[in-house]
């Protein structure tokens, strides 16, 4: 099948959504399809939103390809008679963040009209799709609430082939993701302080461009609690080989961002390496993947209780192993593999 894969890009910012599109393209090609990937530029400047949405709407792809798969907003406004959307997030400033301090449009008549125009355009674009998929239950619920669209959840898998491999259940917990306040590396340090076992913590990942002071805070915290010999803070880009080794040899992983939409790739990477994931009840999307005492632990975001869970894993390696080995089964159960994704997108 000839498939046009269309998404939007911030240009020069490579993040989750760009990788997502690359991986989907590879998965489609690996199954014998011909793929043309279009990444159209989008600025998130609120004043330019509607103009850019109009631009997407004016671009007519209907002469080409057997199917159009759109990913990041506002790609679903592109015109094609056989369109499906794998919707990964709204322009949230006009949706669930409207009325919060993250609202990006002014509360003026113009701002309200702009918000309504965005919702109206999304309704139109999504309404034209033969099917709408979402990348998480959270986004599915938002589509239902704001757009009256019934989406099917299609969880994004890791790229294939993924390099993660199982290894010995070591003496450290791994928290691998960008260093940013809402990813709560600080909570991991606070929790380690309450442990009674000598379990160690490895925090690894590049700092967000504006997060230099946050990294300093983490260092201060480690020093204040005298945890220097039990916490390794690798604040940098981690090469693939080092990354897979870190996952292979950890005891289990931690992933408790604050209220994220999706379960996050670090959880999948942990499971690919047969490791359990320790998350918290307020982490959002991780709860769609992690089940208490099956493929990890779900505790309240409370340092003492997290510390207790850390100790349990350290004291009982058989438990860490049992939980870690349940990961792949849980992923299959949720259809987190490319055969399923491709089958649904092309159904």
């Amino acid at each position: 099948m000839k498939i046009i894969l269309a998404s939007s890009t911030n240009v020069f910012v490579r993040g989750g959504a760009t990788f997502f599109v690359d991986w989907l393209g590879h998965a489609l090609e690996a199954r014998g399809h011909q793929v043309d990937t279009l990444m159209l530029p989008v600025s998130e400047e609120p004043n330019a939103l509607l103009e850019q949405m109009a631009a997407f709407r004016l671009i007519d792809l209907s002469q080409h390809g057997d199917r159009l798969i759109t990913v990041r907003t506002p790609a679903h406004l592109l015109r094609h008679p056989r369109k499906v959307s794998w919707f990964i997030h709204h322009y949230r400033g006009a949706y669930d963040l409207w009325g919060t301090r993250y609202q990006t449009l002014p509360n003026s008549p113009e701002g309200i009209a702009c918000r309504e125009a965005i919702i109206g355009a999304d309704n139109r674009g999504l309404g034209e799709c033969a099917r709408v998929f979402s990348n998480s239950g959270v986004v599915r619920d938002r589509l239902r609430k704001f757009n009256s669209v019934d989406a099917e959840v299609l969880f994004p898998p890791l790229p294939e082939p993924n390099p993660f491999r199982p290894g010995p259940y070591g003496d450290y917990l791994l928290l691998f993701c960008r260093l940013a306040h809402h990813k709560r590396q600080w909570l991991a340090i606070e929790s380690l302080r309450h442990t009674r076992t000598p379990v160690r913590l490895v925090i690894a990942g590049p700092a967000d461009p504006d997060a230099a002071s946050y990294v300093d805070e983490l260092r201060v915290l480690i020093a204040r609690y005298g945890l220097d010999d039990r916490v390794s803070l690798l604040s940098r880009w981690i090469p693939d080989e080092e990354k897979t080794a870190l996952f292979a040899q950890c005891l289990a992983t931690l992933y408790f961002p604050f209220d994220e939409d999706s379960y996050g790739y670090p959880s999948l990477e942990a499971h690919a390496a047969r490791k359990a994931v320790l998350t918290t009840t307020d982490s959002g999307g991780t709860l769609e993947l992690i089940e208490e005492d099956r493929n990890g632990f779900v505790t309240p975001p409370d340092p003492e209780q997290i510390g207790e869970a850390m100790d349990r894993l350290f004291s009982d390696r058989a438990l860490a192993q049992r939980l870690g080995e349940s990961g792949p089964e849980r992923m299959r159960e949720l259809g987190i593999h490319w055969d399923h994704v491709v089958e649904r997108l092309l159904a």
């Binding site: 911030n10 159209l40 400047e45």
Partner: protein, 347 residues
């Protein structure tokens, strides 16, 4: 710098402009820039759709980008404060091709209105670019004639940095490249039958239509030229091309009215071979100076035959023309370093 190369696209089509855009981005990266290609899909028919896509380009934004380098209509309308145009072509149907069989827009009230919108948009928005370079003198002349806009010529270098060699001066004229009626290989075959010397012709390249291939074969048979004309009807690899150019007597490249100098012309120069072209071939004369680096003959068999015979009879002169061609090519600085320095304003 963060540099976005902007190009049009028709999904699933990959041609010379796409190759040039990719090569430019790759070379920009080699010179230490962050570079990416942004492709905007364009639909040309029905003609009113062209207006939609002009508007779409105008409504798009290009965030996080220090320099935009658009190559074509209509993507050069995308607004950006630091835009350097490297113009491959405008929409010629609204200019020099208007009134010819290639017009494509109907000569009706609506059609003329569309033509005028295109011309006005060019007049209005092209001057936004800080600098305008064209890929050939022809493109630049057209821009001056129709839009009164000044530009400089920046010739595109060879796409692949292959090693061209200069071997013995042989006894065959070679014509390499796509075989079709605008490239006029049939005219070369007809020339051979008027030659008085035993000069040979090798036509090498993939035909785009069975009819044109048959016409060439028929011509060869009709005039019993089997021993003098070799027709290699398939894709020619870079290796084969280097080999053919290295050992030929001279190269013939006689397209009808092309804007650019033709990559094969430059390849012939770098192989130190004379080039035969025609008075109506267009931009080829950037590299072919009559009597100096080759021949610019009338587009008719006898004139071409006379040029072939002269080359055959005086191989010392043919070799001298080849050497002069190489010198001319080098003096024009048709290389990536010059292109990158010029486009990024660091020369």
């Amino acid at each position: 710098m963060r540099i976005a190369v902007l190009n049009n696209c028709v999904p699933f089509l990959y041609g010379g402009a796409e190759y040039l855009a990719d090569a430019l981005a790759r070379k920009l990266q080699e010179f230490g820039h962050e570079a990416t290609v942004i492709r905007m899909p364009v639909r040309w028919d029905p003609p009113e759709r062209i207006i939609d896509h002009i508007l779409a380009a105008r409504l798009l934004r290009l965030p996080n980008t220090d320099l935009a380098i658009p190559l074509k209509f209509p993507v050069y309308y995308v607004p950006h404060p630091n835009k350097t145009l490297w113009l491959l072509h405008q929409f010629r149907q609204a200019y020099d091709l208007w009134g010819t069989q290639f017009q494509s827009i109907p000569d009706t009230q609506e059609g003329r209105a569309i033509r005028d919108v295109i011309r006005r948009a060019d007049n209005e928005y092209l001057p936004e670019a800080r600098r305008i370079y064209t890929n050939s003198k022809v493109t630049g002349d057209r821009l001056r004639k129709f839009n009164a806009i000044e530009s400089e010529v920046l010739l595109p270098p060879l796409l692949a940095d292959s090693a061209y060699r200069s071997g013995e001066t042989g006894d065959a004229i070679v014509a390499i490249g796509r075989v079709n009626d605008t490239k006029r290989q049939l005219l070369l075959v007809r020339a051979i039958k008027h030659c008085r010397t035993p000069v040979r012709l090798i036509v090498a390249g993939k035909t785009e239509s069975g009819a044109y291939a048959s016409a060439i074969e028929l011509e060869i048979r009709k005039h019993h030229l089997e021993a003098r004309v070799e027709f290699i009807d398939r894709f020619i690899s870079d290796e084969e091309k280097i080999e053919l150019l290295s050992g030929c007597l001279a190269c013939a490249y006689i397209p009808y009215d092309e804007d650019s100098y033709g990559y094969v012309t430059l390849e012939a120069c770098l192989s130190r071979k004379a080039v035969v072209t025609c008075t109506d071939s267009g931009g080829i004369d950037a590299l072919v100076r009559h009597g100096d680096t080759g021949y610019i003959a009338e587009p008719e068999p006898k004139a071409l035959a006379a040029a072939f015979d002269e080359l055959y009879l005086d191989k010392v002169r043919a070799a001298r023309m080849g050497a002069a061609g190489e010198e001319l090519a080098r003096s024009l600085r048709i290389n990536w370093e010059n292109v990158i320095r010029t486009l990024t304003g660091s020369s």
